[in-house]
Amino acid sequence: MRLKRMKNKKKSDLSITIRIILGITLLSLFTLISIQNIQLKDNQTNLQNILDHPSLYEGRPYQTSGRVMANQGSYIFVLDSEATKPVPVLFLNNNLKINDNIVVYGEIHVDQLHIDGTPDMYILAEKVHMANSEPYKYIISGIALIIFAFMFFKEWSFSWTGFQESE
């Protein structure tokens, strides 16, 4: 009996130790990621600003992602959700099809692409990642929200004073 109690105490101590180590590890990871995100935001600016004022951003590296709306040989046009119009990308020898989802990294260039001579920008692609399974993420997320709603209303019931714990 005493041996069993000692065994249970050891298990309990081990469980607490593991939890403390895990907690510290997660907190450290979170701190690292926060530093990473601050540095990332320094390098990235709003896409619509770049499309509206391309001369200000010439030469800067940029990453965009979205659906290929048009493919004109070397130029593809990528629709990013952060912009109102597709982003021109110069991607030589590409095998992309319309509706492909991609992540593109490259340098911002400014060139006169319009007939009236107004400057426009394009990204000279250096690295491309295919992301064709991205749209399915939204379907899975929709199903997950239904599962979450089921879980939530199993534990909580709605009243006019707020959510109460279900019995």
């Binding site: 939890r19 530093i35 939530f152």
Partner: protein
């Protein structure tokens, strides 16, 4: 970025590891950043207006606005207030932690693991982890009952 199912699974794993009873508050915190981020759909109701006056997605993927939102959301629950805030914010942090593992060309960061479109790998890994923890829990309860 991982999908909502991965965020839910990760939050559930945390509740198991730290023995948190109010699981749904942590899971609510884990899904809130993406739900609140979708407030940017308001921009689509005003065609012609400058888009992204407030970038809701980025706003609700930062710790301080999420911390503030945890205080507001906790008001809707009849549960010890600070406890609710703590659990919701824990869920928020778990969301940011998982999002931080997304790869990017722009930054060879500390924890880039998977591209955003490789969300299915997260679902598989987290599902297996959650199932293993559930089995371990059942085993522990059995040991306690026989012991």
């Amino acid at each position: 970025m991982p999908d909502i199912l991965s965020h839910i699974l990760f939050a559930l794993i945390l509740t198991k590891l730290f023995n948190i009873k109010r699981k749904t508050l942590v899971v609510l915190g884990a899904v809130l950043p993406d739900i609140l981020g979708k407030l940017k759909m308001i921009n689509y109701l005003t065609p012609g207006a400058p888009p992204g006056i407030v970038d809701f997605s980025n706003l609700f993927h930062s710790p301080i606005p999420l911390f503030v939102s945890a205080f507001i959301v906790a008001l809707f629950f009849e549960y010890p207030y600070l406890g609710s805030v703590f659990f919701i914010f824990l869920g928020n942090l778990s969301h940011l932690l998982l999002d931080g593992t997304t790869k990017s060309f722009l930054f060879n960061g500390y924890l880039p693991i998977l591209w955003a479109d490789q969300f299915y790998i997260w679902i598989i890994v987290l599902s297996i982890t959650y199932c293993l923890l559930t089995v371990l829990d059942i085993q522990l309860i059995k040991d306690q009952q026989t012991g």
